[in-house]
């Protein structure tokens, strides 16, 4: 009886947690095609080459409109760039600051600077973007149901609108966006960037690379977290076994 109840309780808890969690992911979205990501799974790590190519895509394409509010240039060491490379990337940006004389001035960026924002504020962004606000991308993979698969699907999901659909002015058809009308024009096109490593810059390739980069920016602690997690979970599993053995020993003289 007890065994049955224990099993039922565990099963109930499991079903309950599984049944409630994915429910949030449902909505008006189309089913997202699953991609295989280097950073997926308990041992997944970021494909450094893809993440670096993805940074190039962000830098040359996305950053014209989207900021990485929470990220710093120094974070780029996490995708395998050297301190010198990061310093050079930061120095190539002109950062607005206040000079020693108290007057506004521009200076070359430092690794400790946040990524330079394309607009001074949200109102300036809207004014330049036909009223739409390009979302900050520093948490975009965590902030959308479907995560990496969703952002990839969105970037590759542009097509001509169905003939029976009335599109609003300046909007673009995208089959994965809620309501199917998105203000962002198709950001990627064949050969939009030229990869230094010679990888052909197809839309799918660029989308995959930039999503890998953004996944890193959303959760820069991922690799450290998983590596530590393996050790800690193993430790507790081992401790469970040891403690159980001690428990058996302690209880061996009890008639129960």
């Amino acid at each position: 009886m007890m065994r049955w109840v224990t099993f039922a309780a565990a099963a109930a808890a499991l079903i309950g947690s599984l049944a409630t969690a994915p429910a949030r992911a449902e909505g008006d979205h189309m089913a997202l095609p699953k991609q295989s990501w280097s950073f997926a799974g308990p041992f997944g790590t970021f494909d450094r080459a893809a993440a670096q190519r993805g940074f190039q895509v962000y830098n040359e394409v996305c950053s014209a409109c989207h900021q990485l509010h929470h990220a710093y240039y120094r974070d780029l060491t996490g995708i395998g760039l050297s301190a010198e490379q990061v310093a050079a990337i930061a120095a190539s940006k002109s950062i607005s600051d206040i000079g020693d004389d108290g007057a506004p001035m521009d200076r070359p960026g430092l690794p400790s600077d946040h990524f330079k924002a394309p607009y001074a504020n949200d109102l300036a962004a809207r004014a330049a973007q036909n009223g739409a606000l390009p979302p900050d991308l520093s948490l975009i993979i965590k902030a959308r149901d479907g995560g990496a698969d969703y952002v990839y699907a969105l970037l590759t999901g542009y097509s001509a609108a169905p003939s029976n659909m009335k599109m609003s002015d300046g909007m673009n058809y995208n089959k994965y966006f809620v309501g199917n009308q998105v203000a962002m024009t198709p950001p990627l096109s064949e050969g939009r960037v030229t990869y230094a490593d010679g990888t052909p810059a197809s839309v799918n390739q660029m989308a995959k690379d930039v999503v890998t980069f953004l996944a890193f920016i959303s959760e820069p602690e991922t690799e450290q977290r998983k590596a530590l997690g393996v050790r800690i979970v193993l430790f507790f599993v081992l401790m469970t076994g040891l403690t159980y053995a001690v428990k058996r020993k302690v209880w061996s003289d009890v008639d129960h």
Partner: protein, 422 residues
Amino acid sequence: MAGLHKSEFTNPVINWVDSRLPIFTMMQKEYGVFPTPKNFNYFWNFGALAMVTLMIMIATGIFLAMNYTAHTSMAFDSVQRIMRDVNYGWLIRYVHANGASMFFLVTYVHIFRGLYYGSYKAPRELLWILGVVILLIMMATAFFGYVLPWGQMSYWGATVITNLFSAIPVVGEPIVTWLWGGFSVANPTLNRFFALHYLLPFVLIGIVFLHVAALHVTGSNNPLGIDVKGPQDTLPFHPYYTIKDSVGLCLFLAIFAGFVFFAPNFFGAADNEIPANPLVTPAEIVPEWYLLPFYAILRSVPSKLGGVLMMFGSIGLLFVVPWLDTSPVRSCKFRPVYRWFLALLVIACIVLGMVGAHRPEGIWVLLGRLGTIYYFLHFLVILPVLGKLERPLPLPESISKPVLRGGGPLPSGAAAKPMEKA
């Protein structure tokens, strides 16, 4: 010496302290030699698990508070600073965030244990009531905590929950304004929620202390639900239950760590990674999983005030459960019929949880109403009536003796085996 406690500790330092403040004697009495029924199963781990989780929550919470800024313009960014710039900040925050879910998980199992084995019945009514108070404070604390990251779900969750009070006739609107400290959920609201989120866990410690104190007056219930007849039925808490609790604790921490390190956002909502925006309502405003059944009850009643009353009533009902149950037997082990109704209650709660996560349309409306009806029916009708109709199975003579089949006579010479430890 007059006025000094007669301490039995031989270590001179401990003896000196214990003579003046007998905390060592108390610990020895309550956690060392405390006589505990010897037939606990692993369901009796969950109280200790909840206690440990509370400590983990307070420890991580204090470190989060050192790095958090309770201001609407900085709260979201300060949480991101914790995640990115504070040493192991991501670990502290993920332990705290997943810890909330773990806390409710073990507490719900603990409550189920109490219901299944009749731990709420005389003489443990007050113990149970204190437990319900703990549950209520936990819910309030969890709600306040969920508001602090100031994401979309934080903001809109706070708006929905505080607006529940507007259902109260006449004084509802002024109460909501008073709760907000203004005319919308805004900075004063965030500030007071942070203050309350920091305060309530310490209130919780106080109530938990009373919960444990009450437990140590009546003694623990046990899977048979019968009273302890003598020392042959019990074991000293240490080492028997300290080690048994440790087994469960290690396994629990392994699962807890599994979530923290490999699926830290499993229980989270993507919308809460978007900063709060009063001008944009998320497509779905969904509370955390542990509040979903109550949210489902709220939405199953086609009247705002009715829904609010039913939702609070669903928890309020738990306070009187000791007097709703009329059965003379505690443990469901000896209640062949009620056992199945209790299983039905668990199913109803899980169904309600699923209903709460879905939009109230189609089949979910019907399921929500059926679940709500069964929840109240269970406590208000089945519990009182079934206790009078059901014929319980024969109870064992004592914990250390097997069940008497067919109510036969006691085997002769069945003197209790001496179980006391030397």
